[in-house]
């Protein structure tokens, strides 16, 4: 297995809070982040609920320190990344090999949309500053530059599994002695492009989503950012505080079934979970909690549920989809849910799966619907599955 990669810091922003403390408070009190659109200016405003971060771009800018004119995706990213770095409180960062491995799905699309509406009427029109950060990597670099991270920078985009893969890649860079420290995760702001894209697929719930419910109708889109600070165990003696846990397993597999739909048997999800277990040297019965991908679509939940049934039959861990709080934050979801998984281990929490009233007929297990405290949470499995069949699972483990 090699030496473990440790989680030294976490940072998160989503519709349920602008930091980990606010997020935990919302998770404990069952306060979901969905509501009517405030900041996104879409014709679907009154029809489609979304889980927006409850701050406008100016407020996000003053919180994170980037100019309010840049993409909201970068504004969200810097806030969570800064929280994670501050939380990790690593001394002498400037003497270490530090990387920033981020993820997002549509880069600076929120600004490109503004640019494009003028550009299509006249190709000489549209403000170039609105399109200069269109590329996914440009969002990462805005944040890396602000954080002063220069040693290694990368961006992954594998749809909804993007930031699980960035955490995975960062861990391998540390294990292979290329980096000492990595800030890894992802970010995505709501855009009209993605909202309309998902809407054409008819997988958006006009009500608040109900993951793993028999009567689920689809997902709610959300926005946010989530990052973990991963450190090499070579650094453990120099850390000022006890790391949260280790990232003990990870696996990436492809469903190879359809560009957007998951296979009914959940081949990709099954292989990702199984591979992560194998890598961590754990058995299914060792897992204390699964943070489900659980989007709330018909297709995802039966596919993921079927894969879990196959792998965990006989010893189902507690599980829940925190997308019932945050909505589906797409390229950020793996990062946001990694943070929740890490905090579940630290505090002994199991988060509730909100609005689940009728369990799915096909599945022999039911996700947890209450917030549980003082649980013995040793190993958490976090699932992220996406378009293009990209499936990734991460396992976080309590330090012995």
């Amino acid at each position: 297995m090699g030496n473990p990669v440790l989680v030294a810091g976490v940072g998160v922003i989503s519709a349920i809070g602008k930091n980990t403390a606010e997020s935990l408070d919302a998770l404990e009190s069952g306060r979901a982040g969905m509501g009517e659109m405030h900041w996104l200016n879409s014709v679907h405003k009154s029809k489609l609920p979304v889980a927006e971060v409850n701050l406008n771009n100016e407020d996000l800018a003053s919180l994170g320190g980037l100019p309010s004119s840049v993409s909201r995706t970068a504004l969200l990213s810097i806030i969570a990344a800064k929280e994670a770095l501050a939380d990790a409180a690593i001394d002498n960062l400037e003497h270490l090999r530090v990387g920033f491995i981020s993820a997002n799905t549509v880069g600076g699309m929120d600004k490109t949309e503004n640019f494009f509406s003028e550009f299509i009427s006249n190709p000489q029109k549209g403000k170039l500053r609105d399109v200069i950060h269109h590329e996914c990597g440009s969002i990462t670099e805005l944040v890396a530059d602000h954080l002063g991270i220069r040693h290694y920078i990368s961006t992954i985009s594998t749809a909804c599994s993007s930031s699980a893969n960035s955490i995975f890649f960062a861990a391998r860079l540390i294990k292979n002695n290329i980096l000492d420290v990595a800030v890894a995760g992802g970010t995505d702001a709501l855009t009209k492009f993605t909202l309309n894209g998902f809407n054409t697929l008819m997988i958006l719930d006009p009500e608040f989503c109900k993951p793993f419910d028999e009567n689920r109708r689809g997902l709610n889109l959300g926005e946010g950012a989530g990052y973990v600070v991963l450190v090499s165990d070579r650094l453990i003696s120099s850390l000022k505080k006890q790391p949260y846990c280790s990232l003990s397993g990870y696996c990436n597999a492809n469903d190879a079934y359809h560009q957007t739909a998951s296979s009914p048997e959940g081949t990709g999800s099954f292989l990702a979970m199984k591979g992560a277990l194998k890598q961590s040297g754990l058995n299914p019965s060792d897992i204390s909690y699964i943070n489900l991908h659980g989007t709330g679509t018909q297709n995802n939940d039966i596919s993921e549920g079927t894969a879990i049934k196959l792998l965990f039959d006989g010893h189902y861990p507690k599980m829940s989809s925190t997308k019932s709080f945050t909505g589906h934050t797409l390229g950020a979801s793996g990062g946001v849910e990694a943070v929740f998984s890490v905090l579940a281990i630290r505090h002994g929490f199991v988060y509730p799966n909100l609005r689940l009233t009728t369990p799915m007929k096909e599945l022999p297990f039911v996700p947890e619907i209450k917030f549980l405290k003082n649980e013995k949470i040793d190993h958490v499995l976090s699932n992220s599955f996406g378009f293009g069949g990209n499936c990734s699972s991460l396992i976080f483990s309590k330090l012995k």
Binding site: G137, S157, G197, N254, G389
Partner: protein, 354 residues
């Protein structure tokens, strides 16, 4: 760790795809961009799928398929794709419709195919490949990240074959927007004269290039990739020089052992100054060839540079279009590729003959 290149396949603005000859008939372009010479896809991709695929998907999938075929690999252990801009054509179609139709009456097809992982996903789908699949999208580091990931995969697992590559496309809109940033030449120029122009701006380019990498030594391998390194926003030319020298030192070699340096010179006087300076310092007295007048400038162009390096090592000859005569029978053992993308993303690849 040293890995080997089993195959390399490129769809580029030159006659590179499915050719046994190596850049013997260079193609001239006049204007601001070089676009790919696309093959007949019917023998490569299922005809039902071709109709739905945008250009970047077709080019990416075809280059990947050809690379697997050449390596005689039916199921790679990983598929790793790089793209800086992603699927621009489908992104534009959906964005334009969304704005024109005021978010009503949209069809999902373009959206579905607009995600950055579409090329990698379509390759997996075509092969029914359930293995590791990742897509890197960090501008001038996209391809470098993909190759590093491939090397790590080969280091972590035994007997692996990794399919890795890059794809980026030009669409009219992206060309028009990038032109407004002043990236391309104002005056008409032939790509053959691009590097001598001495003015600002370069020519736009595109391409899809895939490789099969392996950790198994074999006589059939085309080249060895000894190492790769990237550095971001160096603060001075001195830092760049230092990084190049220490990269070579880490590989227990030095500049004297390099037979050819392939640089990313692109004819833009602003960025070429760096290559100029290096010619008088660390690259002094070394043979240098340049590749961007053959493929144009784009963030994942180093995939084309890697293709060129592999072919030079395999054929043990340098095509005359690269402006350098092959030395009389002296073997070409080591090649260094150095590129910078807008002086932000700098990358180094070190290769050896097998």
């Amino acid at each position: 760790m040293q890995v080997f290149i089993k195959s390399a396949s490129s769809i580029s603005p030159q006659k590179t795809f499915g050719q046994s000859s190596f850049l013997t008939e260079p193609v001239e372009y006049a204007g601001k961009k070089l676009t790919c010479i696309e093959p007949d896809y019917s023998g490569i991709i299922d005809s039902k799928l071709i109709r739905r695929m945008s250009r970047i998907i077709k080019m990416g999938v075809a280059a990947a398929a050809a690379s697997l075929k050449e390596a005689k690999i039916t199921m790679p252990d990983a598929i790793i794709t790089a793209t800086a801009y992603g699927c621009l054509e489908d992104t534009e179609i959906f964005l334009k419709k969304m704005i024109q139709n005021k978010e009503e009456m949209l069809s999902p097809t373009a959206f579905i195919q607009s995600t950055h992982n579409t090329v990698g996903a379509q390759i997996a789908l075509m092969l029914k490949c359930h293995n590791y699949n990742n897509t890197f999208v960090n501008r001038g580091f996209s391809f470098e990240s993909a190759i590093l990931d491939a090397i790590l995969m080969l280091q972590e697992n035994e007997n692996n074959h990794v399919l890795a590559g890059a794809a980026d496309e030009i669409i009219d809109t992206s060309h028009s927007i990038l032109s407004r940033f002043g990236l391309y030449k104002n005056e008409p120029v032939s790509n053959f004269d691009l590097l001598q122009s001495g003015t600002k701006g370069t020519m736009n380019g595109e391409g899809a290039t895939f490789f099969v990498l392996t950790n198994q030594a074999s006589k059939e391998n085309q080249a060895a990739l000894d190492a790769i390194s990237t550095f971001y926003k160096p603060q001075s030319i001195t830092e760049t020089e230092k990084n190049i020298l220490s990269f070579l030192k880490e590989q227990s070699t030095d500049i004297n052992e390099i037979d050819i340096i392939i640089t990313g010179k692109n004819g833009d006087s602003r960025g070429d100054e760096i290559y100029q300076r290096l010619s008088h310092s660390v690259f002094k007295t070394k043979k240098q060839v340049h590749y961007k007048y053959l493929c144009g400038e784009y963030p994942t162009s180093t995939a084309f540079a890697l293709w060129v390096a592999i072919k030079i090592l395999k054929h043990q000859s340098i095509p005359s279009i690269l402006g350098m005569n092959s030395d009389s029978g002296k073997p070409i053992k080591r090649i260094l590729i150095y590129n910078h993308h807008q002086n932000l993303h700098h990358s180094l690849f070190l290769l050896s003959a097998c």
